[in-house]
């Protein structure tokens, strides 16, 4: 944890990243033509304006997924020790579900689960 090792750490890190980028510029084959540069939607040419406002539904969907994904992540270790702990574990997980269920209820009532 001396000063030299810290600086060496930073230099090596920067060098590796820089090297990867610079090296690929020289080594990678490139051939560009206009058709490759066009935007596309699912393989066919675009229709209408492509620069639309972001639909916030995607964002809400992602956030709610994240919350319940983390809930699932917490359930995995619980599942491992549940058998040894018995009744206490069961009651505890019911409380956990209940608290997160309250959150789901809130999201539901606020209309986050509806699209648009």
């Amino acid at each position: 944890m001396s000063a030299e090792s810290l600086i060496l750490f930073f230099i090596v890190g920067a060098f590796l990243v820089g090297f990867a980028i610079v090296f690929s510029i020289f080594v990678a084959p490139t051939s560009t033509n206009p058709q490759k540069a066009e935007p596309y939607e699912c393989g066919i040419p675009t229709e209408g304006l492509t620069w639309l406002q972001f639909n916030v539904g995607y964002y809400l969907f992602a956030i709610i997924f994240l919350i319940f994904d983390v809930e699932a992540v917490f359930i995995f270790p619980w599942a491992v020790v549940m058998k040894e702990m018995g009744m206490i574990a069961f009651v505890e997980i019911v409380i956990f579900f209940f608290v997160l269920g309250l959150g789901l209820l809130y999201a539901w009532k606020k209309g986050a689960l509806k699209w648009e």
């Binding site: 944890m1 810290l6 809130y106």
Partner: protein, 458 residues
């Protein structure tokens, strides 16, 4: 811990009251809930306890400052009825987010572990990014929230990196173990540790808005809806300064010689720059923003001058500053509504149209300037005494110079109110709002005359 739990329940309750479409119950429930939280917090007085293996520490300092924070939030919520009276859209999310921001602030007063500190800061910050932009139609509000979010996230990154480096060198997030590591180093500190310490200082300095990390504050304060600016200027600042105070004095005290010059310089620069720039502000809101920047500088004095008295000094200072600032913002809200802007010209002749409101604003300005016998003077005096006891003569002289400069801009509203002719627009105030304003003015005078109510607690 009961504080945190009660505030969480209150926040969730607020949100659910919103779902159940009981908008009229919101404010009464919140005010009642805050009083209940204060009572529950008081029950923890003089008990020293720690939870979750020392992650949350509840001692007298955290109880006192949690009380101060909840009380400031209580005062702000008492103004919310008038501020949001014409708003049609449901308010439960704004109030809920404010409660959660308060929760984050309380967590910042009682942490025993750097992860809890980060948790508290992020809870507070993210809630505030939302609140800053809550006025969706106004462009200034959008600008404020974007600036705050981008800069805040960037600096939270610094904070986190600092925590990581400290963990890397000391082997623990716990404040006690880091303190033990500091003493075991015996003068030879690993560079990684020092780098982490300074990154931590930078991250927290952003939150308090001290020079040179203060550039976000005036624009963000000006763009945010005024009630929430009051929240930012008082609750956030108090929470951040007590967080800084806690980890400096409990953990890094042994390493005093390393960081005190930095904090010393930051404090001096903040006091001078904040006060000098405040002289040039054209409107009251920006002036209050720069005044709050300079007050952060004074609060840093308590951090540098650690002694037995300094937590008392800090408590008195944050309390008197918060109450005076909320009072000033409360009257600012009235002026903005009546005149549409808050340039000093809108204050002209207020002493004739609304004499009692003008008097309360005078009390707020004089207290912030530090004129006896108001609370601000006792707070500054106590702070200067603490600093002089530790031998920081030059810093006190800088602070005195800053006070002298600040009188100039605190007098601008007073002069406008009493000495200029008004254009006849009278402020419309409802009685509950007036009661809040008078109560706050009374508190400022009372704490000034009877400071022993606050001093001697810790």
């Amino acid at each position: 811990m009961t504080t945190i739990i009660s505030l969480t329940i209150l926040g969730v309750l607020t949100l659910f009251l919103g779902i159940m479409k009981k908008q009229s119950w919101l404010l009464p429930v919140i005010l009642l809930g805050l009083v209940v939280s204060m009572v529950l917090t008081l029950r923890d007085w003089n008990t020293f306890s720690s939870y979750y293996n020392g992650m949350i520490i509840v001692d007298n300092v955290s109880v006192a400052f949690s009380m101060a924070l909840i009380f400031s939030a209580f005062l702000i919520f008492s103004l919310a009825a008038h501020y949001y009276r014409g708003v049609l859209r449901p308010l439960d999310d704004i109030y809920g987010v404010m409660i959660f921001a308060l929760l984050g602030a309380v967590m910042m007063t009682s942490y025993g572990n750097l992860i809890m500190l980060f948790l508290g800061i992020e809870t507070l910050s993210i809630a505030l990014y939302v609140l800053a932009g809550s006025h969706k139609e106004a462009v200034t509000s959008n600008e404020a929230t974007l600036k705050y979010f981008l800069l805040g996230s960037f600096l939270s990154g610094f904070l986190l990196f600092g925590i990581a480096l400290i963990y890397g060198s000391s082997g623990s997030f716990d404040l006690g173990r880091i303190s033990a590591f500091v003493t075991s180093c015996a003068g030879i500190y690993p560079p990684m540790f020092l780098a982490g310490l300074f990154l931590l200082i930078i991250g927290l300095a952003f939150k308090i808005a001290v020079v040179p990390f203060h550039f976000w504050a005036p624009d963000v304060y000006e763009g945010t809806p005024t009630l929430l600016t009051a929240f930012m200027a008082t609750v956030v600042k108090t929470a951040a300064i007590i967080a800084m105070y806690r980890f400096f004095t409990h953990t890094f005290h042994g390493i005093h010689g390393v960081w005190d010059t930095t904090i010393w310089v930051m404090a001096a620069l903040t006091i001078l720059l904040g006060n000098l720039t405040g002289l040039y502000q054209p409107n009251l809101k920006r002036m209050l923003a720069y005044s709050s920047i300079s007050h952060s500088g004074y609060m840093l004095l308590a951090v540098v001058a650690f002694s037995a008295m300094s937590d008392n000094a800090l408590l008195l200072y944050t309390l008197s500053y918060s109450i005076a600032t909320i009072l000033a913002f409360a009257i600012l809200i009235l002026i903005r509504e009546a005149h549409g802007n808050d340039y000093f010209s809108s204050l002209n002749g207020l002493a004739k149209t609304n004499p009692s409101i003008a008097f309360c604003l005078t009390i707020a300005m004089l207290s912030l300037a530090g004129i006896p016998p108001l609370a601000g003077f006792m707070a500054k005096y106590y702070l200067f005494t603490t600093a002089l006891e530790q031998g920081l003569l030059w810093l006190v002289i800088v602070a005195i110079a800053g006070s002298a400069i600040s009188v100039a801009y605190y007098f601008k509203p007073i002069m406008a109110m009493y000495l200029k002719e008004s254009n006849g627009i009278k402020l419309m105030v409802e009685t509950p709002y007036k009661v809040s304003i008078f109560f706050m003015a009374l508190l400022v005078v009372l704490i000034g005359i009877l400071p022993f109510l606050v001093i001697g607690l810790l």
